[in-house]
Amino acid sequence: MAPAHPPSTAQRLRLTACLVIVAAPHLFHLPFWVIALALPVIAWQALAARLAWPAPGRLLRFILAAAAFAAVFAGFGRVNGQEAGVSLLLIMLSLKLCELRSHRDAMVFLSLLCFLLVTQFLFSQSLAMAAYLIIGTWLIIAAFVDIASVTSTRTALADSTRLLMQALPVAALLFVLFPRIPGPIWGLPSDAGARATSGLSDSMSPGSIADLALSDGVALRARFAGEAPPPAERYWRGPVLWDYNGRSWEINQANRRLPAATVTRAGNSQSWPVDITLEATRHDWLIALDVPTAINRSAQQGAGATLHADDDIDTRTRYLATSITGGVLDGNLAETSRRRALLLPSAGNPRARDLAERWVHEDLAPTAIVDAALGRFREQPYRYTLSPAPVSRDAGIDDFLFDTREGFCEHYAGAFTFLMRAAGIPARVVTGYLGGEPALVGDYWIVRNSDAHAWAEVWLAGRGWVRVDPTAAVAPDRIDSGISGSLADNSALPYMARSSGSGWYRAQMVWDAVNAGWDRWFLAYGPQLQQQVLDKLGLAGWTRALLALTAGVIGLLVLVSVWIGWQMRRRRHPDPVVRAWQQICQRLGAAGYPRADNEGPRDYANRVASARPDLAATLGALVERYIRLRYAPVECSDTQEADLFISKAARFRPRRQRRASRFSQTNA
C-alpha cells in the first residue's frame, strides 16, 4: 500500500521550490497579473508548510478554484488557447499546494508539473529552453524520487541523474524513429507560436524603415545552391505597396483584385534557387530573392509578384524559392493595374506635381524622366541618413524634395514613386531587404532587419516593371557595402549591423551558427526530415522503422537491466578462507541453524553443537582451523593449510534433522 502519512514539511517545501523553478520562465511569457495571482498563493502555502498552519477547508479551496477560473476568463476572454490555458494551469497548480495531504496528491501535482514544463516550449524553443528542459526534468524526477522514498536531497538528485542518463539513449532512439504524424491535429489557437519580432509591415511612412534598421535581429537566413548573386542583385522582395494616402504608402484591400503578376525569361536571365529560413513575421508574405517564380510549398503570387502563404507565418519557416534575375515582369500591364499604379490623391504636394509636369511638358521619354529624377538626387545636395529632419504631415514629399533634402530609403523611394506617378508613368513602391552577409561559421547568409530597404519599380513599355533604386543615386555604397558602409555615421546602427569583425562579433556569429544548426536539424525534425533520415538509414517503410524502433528500445532496456544487475551483484569477499566459512554458515542455515550476525565462530559452533551433537565433532574441527587461519596473531602464510580448510569446508554438508523442533525461535 502507499505510505499512509502525508508529505512532510520538508517534502512540501521541496515541491513548492520545484513549482517555482519550473514556472519561472513563464514570467516572460504570461501577463503580469497572472504571476501576481499565483505568487501570493505559493508564498502563502510555503509559509503554511513551514509554520504548520492547518490546510484550508474544502469550501475555501472550491471558492479559490472558481475565482481562478473567473479571473482567467475575465483576463483573456476565454479559458482555452495558449496563454489562457497555461495561465489557468499555473494558478491551479499553485492552488494544488493547498491540497497536498497524501502521497497520491503529491504524485498528481508532480505529473501536472511535467505538463507545465511542456507548455514552456509553446512559447520558445531556443537553446536556452533546451538547457531549461534538462534542469526542469532533473528536478521533477528528483521530486518523484523524494516522494516515493524518504531520502536526502543529495541522494534524490543523484538518483535522478542516474535515471535520466540511463534513459537518454532510449529517448534519443524514440525521438529519431518514432513515427511523426503531420500536424496539426486539432488546429492551432489564434495566439499560438512564438511572439514575432518587429519586421516589415504593410504600410510605409517616413521613418518606418529607419525604425526597422535599428534592430539587428535576423530576418532570414539563406543558402544559395552555388555562388551567391552579386551585390546588385541581392534585393529581397517583400510586400509591394500600391497606394498612397497622402502620408504613407500601403496595401489597400482592393489590391487583391488586381491580376497576378507574370514573369517571363529573357536572354540573359539567370535562375537562382535559394533555400530560405524565414523568421516569424505574423504576416503572410514569403520573402524571396527578387523576382521569385517558384516555391516548394503552397503559395500564391500576388499582383506585386510577392509570394503569399496560405496563413500568417507564426513560426520560423523554411522553403526553397527559385527566383529569376534579368527577366521581364508583367510584359503586358492590365488596365486595372495601370490605373492603380497611376493613382494619386487629388490634392497635396503641389511642388512635386509641378516638377513632374515640367518634365512632361519637355516631352521627355519615360526613361528620360526616370533619369531626370535620379539625376536630381545625385547632383543636388541630398543626404542619406538614419535620422533625417521630420517632414510635415500633409506635404511630406514636398518638404523632403525641396526643403529638408535628407532622408532614409523610404523617403527617396516614396518621393520618386510620387514623381513618376505625377509624370504619368506607372510606378509602385517595393519593400524588402537589400544585402546580407555571409555567416562566419556555416554556409549560409544572414539578412537582418537592419538590411530593410524600400525601392521603386516603374513600368516601361517593352521592359515591364523595372527596378529603380533612388537610394543608389544618393548613396551608391549602400548596394556594395551594405548599410554599414553607406552611412557617414555608423554609431546609430545596432551592433551586429556594423560588421566590425571584433571578438564579440565573432562570438555572436558562432552563436548564430549554433542556433541555425539547432533550428535546422533538431527543431525542424518533422515528418519530412524524418523521411529523409530514415531513407538514409535504409528504413524506408513504416513497418521497418517501427520494427527497428521496437528492437532498439528493447535492446537498450535489456542493456540497462544488465547494467543494474551488475551494479547489484553480490560482492564476494576477497579472501577465499572467509568465503569458505560463509559457505559453512550458509549450509548450516539451510539446515535450520542460521548464524546470527553478531555471533562469533566459537559461540556459533557451541550453539549448533548443543542442538546437534552429531555435528559437534566435525564442526568443532572446522571452526578451530578457521580461527587459526583467520585470527592467528602471526599471519599464516601456509597456503596448504588454507587449501585444506577450504576443501574440508566444501565437503561439510550437514543433513537436516527429521524431527524439527517447534518454536525453535522462542525461548521456553
Binding site: 504524485m107 514544463l117 529517448a171 517447534r662 522462542t666
Partner: protein
C-alpha cells in the same frame, strides 16, 4: 446461491495463492518467479499525461515537447527495471515472535538482509490485514529489523500469515512486490477472564492462623548482605559487631500448596475454564504465591518465577 458461489471462488483463490507461496523455512529470499511488478495508479495517470503531451507535440510540431515526452517515457521504462532489481534477492533471515494473549496483536519481527552491491530502498513489509507500513532502506550486509503486527484472536499456535514485501522505488510509478510466507509461529495464550476468586492454598489453615497471630514470621539466622536485599532486613546490631553487613533471614512460609485445578471449574466450558485458569496463574504470580497447574494431561508442580509462569501459560495455550 450467489453468496455460496462467491465464497467458493474466494476459497479457490486463497488455495491458489497458498499453493503458489507455501510456507517456507527461513532464511528465504525473493526469487524472480515470486517477484511481480505493475504500474501504480499514479503510473497510469502519468501514462495518460504522456499521451496527451505526445498529441500536443504532434499538433504544434514542437521538437522540445517531443524530446521531453520521450525522455519522461524512457525514464518510466528504466524505472521499471530499477524497481524489479530493488527487491530481487532480498531475503528474510529470521522471524521471531513473542507470545501474546488472545485478542492482542502479535508482533512478528523479521530480519531483512542482503549482500548485493547497492542499497535496497523503500522496502515495506505488511500482511493482508495490516495496511500501514513504514519504509526501510536495507544496506548490504547490514540486517534491518522490521515488525509486522497481526491480530491474534484465537488461542493456540498461530502461523505467520502471508507477508507482502513491496517497494515503490524509484519514482513511485511502478510497484514491485512479492508474497512470502516464512514458516514461523507464535504462541497465543488464552485471554485472561473469569469471575472466580483465586482458591486458597491446600493444607494447614492452622499454620497460617498461628503465623498471623504471632505477628511476624520465625527468625532463623543471619546471612551476609547481598545487593538487592531490602534495607529494612538489615540487622544493624549484628552488623556493628562483625565486619560485614548482615541481613536477617526468615523462615519460608510452608504448606502453601496452591493447586490450580482444571477439574474444579465444573460449571464452565473448556475455553472458559482455560481463561479462568490463566487469570488465576497471573494473580498468583503477582501475589508471589507458588502455584501448581493440574490439567487433564499435564501436571506442573508448584513453583514460582518467570520460567514456571511461561510453562503454565504454554500448557494452557496448547490444552
Amino acid at each position: 446461491m450467489g453468496r455460496a458461489l462467491r465464497s467458493r471462488l474466494a476459497n479457490a483463490r486463497q488455495q491458489f495463492i497458498r499453493r503458489r507461496s507455501p510456507a517456507t523455512r527461513v532464511p528465504l529470499a525473493i526469487s524472480r518467479r515470486r517477484l511481480y511488478i505493475l504500474p501504480t495508479g499514479s503510473g497510469g495517470l502519468f501514462a495518460l499525461l504522456l499521451v496527451i503531451m505526445l498529441l500536443g507535440a504532434t499538433n504544434y510540431s514542437n521538437s522540445l515537447a517531443f524530446a521531453l515526452t520521450f525522455w519522461l517515457a524512457s525514464v518510466a521504462l528504466v524505472s521499471m527495471h530499477h524497481a524489479h532489481r530493488n527487491l530481487l534477492g532480498l531475503s528474510i533471515r529470521t522471524v521471531e515472535a513473542e507470545p501474546v494473549f488472545a485478542g492482542q496483536a502479535a508482533r512478528f519481527t523479521l530480519t531483512l538482509a542482503h549482500d548485493a552491491g547497492r542499497q535496497r530502498r523503500a522496502v515495506r513489509v505488511s500482511s493482508d490485514k495490516t495496511q500501514r507500513a513504514e519504509a526501510v532502506d536495507v544496506s548490504a550486509n547490514v540486517p534491518v529489523q522490521v515488525a509486522v503486527s497481526i491480530a491474534a484472536p484465537v488461542r493456540g499456535v498461530m502461523a505467520c500469515p502471508r507477508l507482502r514485501i513491496e517497494s515503490l522505488y524509484p519514482i513511485g510509478l511502478f510497484r514491485s512486490w512479492s508474497w512470502l510466507t516464512p514458516r514461523a509461529e507464535v504462541l497465543v495464550y488464552p485471554a485472561p477472564a473469569g469471575r472466580e476468586r483465586l482458591p486458597e492454598p491446600a493444607g494447614s489453615d492452622d499454620a497460617r492462623e498461628a503465623l498471623r497471630q504471632r505477628g511476624r514470621e520465625d527468625f532463623i539466622g543471619q546471612r551476609s548482605y547481598i545487593r538487592g536485599d531490602s534495607p529494612r532486613d538489615i540487622d544493624w546490631k549484628a552488623s556493628a559487631r562483625s565486619d560485614a553487613l548482615l541481613v536477617r533471614e526468615y523462615e519460608q512460609p510452608q504448606s502453601n500448596q496452591l493447586w490450580l485445578d482444571y477439574e474444579r471449574l465444573g460449571t464452565l466450558d473448556h475455553e472458559a475454564r482455560l481463561c479462568q485458569l490463566v487469570l488465576w496463574v497471573m494473580r498468583a504470580e503477582r501475589a508471589g504465591q507458588a502455584y501448581g497447574l493440574a490439567l487433564a494431561d499435564t501436571r506442573l508442580p508448584p513453583a514460582i518465577g518467570s520460567a514456571h509462569y511461561r510453562a503454565c501459560l504454554r500448557a494452557l495455550a496448547l490444552a
